[in-house]
């Protein structure tokens, strides 16, 4: 699942998968801005059939580690 999350993330954001790790954040990943973050949320909701709440959307915008943790939790609780 980690691979699927990473693959979708890099496809939307437009970076190489080797350049993505838990430390990636909007501060060090130029293409991960607030608008692309919403595009990411839309892509993950549709691809994984999950609903992401506003507070989670804000939390996920801190780091890829946060982003991944929310998606993984949603998938476990689905």
């Amino acid at each position: 699942m980690d691979k699927k999350i990473k693959e979708l993330f890099v496809t939307v954001i437009g970076i190489k998968i080797d350049d993505l790790n838990d430390e990636n954040s909007p501060k060090n990943t130029k293409s991960w801005d607030s608008l692309n973050h919403l595009v990411l949320i839309a892509a993950f909701e549709d691809a994984f059939e999950i609903d992401i709440e506003p507070e989670e959307i804000a939390f996920m915008f801190k780091s890829f580690s946060n982003f991944k943790s929310v998606v993984e939790r949603k998938l476990i609780n689905r």
Binding site: L38, A42, E45, D46, I52
Partner: protein, 134 residues
């Protein structure tokens, strides 16, 4: 839904007011106002035929519209006025919209509650404002 206003992002709100008022003939309804929730400067203007434009100047990089301004700014969102706030949000979520900002008071709009959604289909931001008196 009835359009309430169009949000328009500018890098300098005074210059924006000058452009819309002095060149396009808009009437300034609300002077430059700071919105601490959105961390933006706002102003509200009305065209000759009563279309409302909300000018938005991000205060810094923490403002939600900062990235949009960095990409050139301009037309940012449509704001629709609705009578049944929660029901409208619920219906829009069912129709490919993401609620990314829960209802909060908007200082420019007399503290009426507003919420922000994102359309998955056309990747645009939609604001909802509750109709006065409800």
């Amino acid at each position: 839904m009835k359009i309430h206003h169009i949000g328009y992002v500018v890098s300098d709100i005074e210059q924006g007011i000058e452009l819309f008022r002095d060149t396009y003939g808009y009437k300034l309804l609300k002077e430059r106002t700071y919105d601490p929730v959105q961390r933006v400067w706002l102003a509200l203007l009305s065209s000759e035929n009563n279309y409302l434009v909300e000018l938005i100047q991000p205060c810094d990089e923490t403002s939600p519209s900062f990235d949009f301004m960095q990409k050139g700014g301009g037309m940012h969102h449509f704001c629709y006025e609705v009578s049944d706030f929660e029901e409208t949000i619920k219906n829009m979520k069912k129709k490919d919209h993401i609620l990314f900002k829960r209802p909060v008071e908007a200082v420019l709009l007399d503290n009426r509650k507003v919420a922000f959604l994102f359309s998955k289909k056309d990747r645009k931001i939609i604001e909802l404002v509750v109709r006065t008196g409800e």
